[in-house]
């Protein structure tokens, strides 16, 4: 019997509405008891002054394997996840080949087992080969372990296919996660369309390109009763559309990435490709609307859209550099420094968006410290001041705009199934 006692930490479990200082006992990889006293056989962790919460869940990452191992592998990506405080990630299917068969889903699971870092869940393709023409074999993908469906990297473009995907996925009660973008409106775009793109002469991606597609998907979700999850929301109009749809009882959820509430299109004035992402960094008023959405619960998940790209790819002319940035190791510090410290969100609300909310949307048995739950635990030092050095990243890539940023707080220890998988050495 393996026993681990985490002592004197502030235990915050939003799923159980738990927030108090106490001891947490783990036995054989499961949460066994609260307020337990140490016994001679316990491995002890002193969490005085620390926050003890369910292991963080990132429901939107790109691990690049198979096919683009020069950018990331499941081994390096999950190592970065641990360093960021995540005990579970859900990876997107835009690999090469895409994750549209049982074999490819099982390959991810086997590689994750070999890596032996954190849990990896698979978001499988909506359409065969991500071509947007025919439904992938969703039932078989569910049997293989897929927890949701997406053609991420690209939207499900055909409205009829999207409608059928919603209807068919209902049989398995799985969400359809869509990258919301009308490509006729963003063709050639490298950044948000606004004053900054006008001044820089860079082709823009208007906010309405996201909002038009979200409107369509809300209508389809309403028609079918399907579960829509809007990936990486970024505009004020999008947040309002989702808020109204929720009020009408439509099954829609959404997520936001830290870069969409900490950076603006103004950062592109540097012409640095590390600020090039899709959806693009938006204007100040979009950020304010997104923060309001986080506060009122319209946006229930914070994810990273961790998108590693090898340096030689990002070091290109801006129109040739790929979209996306690293996210796993900077997400929690950005949440602490830019949402919790300024008082925009309190700890339980912020942690809910990183734990039980993504678990609920993907319907996975994670994101709680309830008695009997898997002992996936993140211990956070909320007070430490540190500077992010991308060259120290566990990821295989280096494409982060946050290099050199000073942060407050970070994951200090990460426990997966009762085993300490990560310790920050300072």
């Amino acid at each position: 019997m393996k026993r681990l006692l985490i002592q004197h930490g502030r235990v915050i479990d939003p799923a159980s509405r738990l927030d108090r200082v106490m001891n947490l006992l783990v036995i054989d990889g499961r949460i066994a008891a609260y307020d337990a006293h140490p016994s001679p056989h316990d491995e002890l962790i002193d969490a005085t002054g620390k926050i003890v919460c369910p292991g963080l869940i990132d429901m939107h990452v790109h691990l690049r394997e198979p096919g683009r191992e020069e950018d990331e592998t499941i081994y390096t990506g999950t190592a970065a996840a641990l360093a960021g405080g995540f005990t579970a990630v859900a990876c997107m299917p835009n690999t090469e080949p895409p994750l549209d068969t049982q074999a490819t889903v099982e390959f991810i699971q086997h590689q994750a087992e070999r890596a032996n870092h954190c849990h990896v869940y698979v978001i499988a393709c909506v359409s065969k080969n991500r071509e947007g023409k025919e439904l992938a074999e969703l039932g078989q993908l569910v049997q293989a372990g897929a927890v949701g469906f997406s053609d991420d990297g690209a939207p499900v473009y055909d409205a009829e296919l999207m409608r059928r995907a919603f209807e068919y996925a209902l049989m398995f009660d799985k969400p359809i996660l869509n990258h919301e973008e009308v490509r006729e409106l963003t063709h050639g775009g490298v950044m948000h369309e606004g004053l900054v793109s006008l001044l820089l002469g860079l082709p823009g991606m208007p906010a309405c390109a996201e909002e038009v597609m979200i409107s369509r998907d809300i209508a389809l979700a309403e028609t079918t009763g399907g579960k829509l999850h809007v990936l990486h929301v970024s505009t004020a109009g999008s947040v309002e559309l989702i808020r109204q749809a929720k009020a009408r009882g439509i099954r829609v959820t959404t997520e936001i990435c830290p870069h969409h509430f900490t950076l603006t299109d103004d950062n592109l004035r540097t012409f640095d490709a590390n600020y090039k992402m899709s959806p693009p960094l938006r204007a100040r008023h979009d950020i304010e609307a997104c923060l309001a959405g986080l506060v009122d619960g319209t946006i229930e998940v914070i994810c990273t859209d961790h998108a590693p790209h090898a340096p030689e790819k990002k070091m290109r002319e801006l129109d040739q550099a790929p979209f996306g940035i690293l996210g796993l190791e900077t997400c929690l510090p950005l949440v602490i420094t830019h949402l919790i410290e300024p008082g925009i969100l309190d700890w339980p609300t912020a942690l809910a968006k990183l734990t039980c909310n993504p678990a609920r949307i993907l319907n996975i048995p994670k994101g709680t410290l309830a008695i009997g739950a898997d002992a996936d635990i993140t211990i956070i030092d909320p007070d430490v001041h540190w500077t992010y050095d991308v060259h120290q990243s566990r990821s295989r890539s280096r494409n982060s705009p946050y290099h050199g940023w000073e942060f407050r707080g970070r994951a200090e220890k990460v426990i997966v199934m009762g085993q300490v998988k990560y310790r920050w050495n300072g």
Binding site: L198, G201, P203, E317, Q320
Partner: protein, 307 residues
């Protein structure tokens, strides 16, 4: 040649101060005098080598930079992307670094993508001069336009200058706007609403779509070429309709101020932006612009490399 210029690169006019711009214009006026002399060649850049790194077609800008370098006693080498290692898959930065390793002193870069001069400046140790980066900036063109205005009008402050045409895709417009504003001109952007966004007003310029309405107020009209090659979708129904609304012709000239100055950074589409009678008439400074181009580029090279 005493003006102080605290920049290592010329990436755009947006980053220059009023003082910087005036210093370059003053120096360019001296260079104009050099060009008028029988013995045009100086030794300021003797032993210096400049490379024209052109990833987009150009004749007049490249020739103008080469001429400017030679008049200052330097050497130039032309590099064009077509037929180079670029077609073998070499990246832009690697190509530039290889060229730099050959011992050059400055790079004049033209590229279809905004921001490429900034990218070069981050990775190279030598001076970088922007000769046009997509629709972003074309600082020496902006400076030569402003020099041509200052020569004819004697000043910039207080003038009303209209930039007419394809503002959306024009790097000349973006350099002109910053330069003219910093020197105190009132700038009007005029053209179809699909090419002239109302958002420009946020930086303090006037936006208009009716040329005939604004013309009586203008001291200078700078006619910008329609950049058909950059437009993803046609922003107006037909060239004929565009010409009807925006061509600077004799009839419009009659309704303008008596001493109106007409500029057109070449190449011009005769009959589209401007009719021949206007382009070749007394109000036009089109050929002076070309001559001033060499002078402005001499001034820039003088400042960046001549110290």
């Amino acid at each position: 040649m005493t003006a102080q210029f605290a920049h290592r690169h010329l990436l755009g006019i947006e980053g220059l101060s009023e003082h910087d711009i005036t210093a370059l214009l003053d120096l360019a006026e001296e260079a104009v005098e050099v060009s008028r002399q029988v013995e045009k060649k100086k030794t300021t850049l003797k032993g210096r080598t400049l490379i024209n790194l052109f990833y987009e077609n150009s004749t007049r800008t490249r020739t103008s930079f080469s001429l400017a370098t030679r008049r200052l006693g330097g050497d130039t080498i032309d590099f064009t992307a077509v037929g180079s290692s670029v077609s073998k898959g070499e990246s832009f930065i690697d190509t530039a670094k290889n060229i730099e390793a050959m011992g050059i002193d400055a790079v004049v870069v033209r590229h279809t993508t905004p921001g490429t001069p900034q990218l070069l400046a981050q990775h190279l140790g030598v001076s970088v001069i922007n000769a046009g980066d997509g629709p972003h900036e074309h600082p020496t063109q902006g400076l030569l336009d402003i020099l041509s205005i200052r020569e004819r009008c004697g000043r910039i402050a207080g003038l009303t200058v209209a930039l007419v045409g394809d503002i959306m895709y024009s790097r000349t417009a973006r350099s002109n706007i910053w330069g003219l504003k910093k020197l105190g001109a009132h700038v009007i952007l005029c053209g179809p609403s699909t090419l002239v966004s109302q958002q420009w007003q946020e930086i303090g310029v006037e936006v208009a779509h009716n040329l005939d309405e604004i013309l009586p107020r203008c001291d200078v009209v700078n006619l910008l070429r329609i950049q058909f090659e950059r437009q993803a979708t046609r922003p107006f129904p037909s060239v004929r309709e565009y010409a009807l609304l925006y061509t600077m012709n004799g009839e419009r000239l009659e309704r303008a101020k008596n001493n109106i100055l007409i500029l057109a950074p070449g190449p011009i589409n005769r009959g589209v932006e401007v009719t021949p009678e206007v382009a070749d008439g007394p109000h036009s400074a089109i050929l002076e612009q070309v001559n001033n181009g060499v002078a402005v580029r001499m001034a820039v090279l003088w400042q960046l490399l001549g110290q």
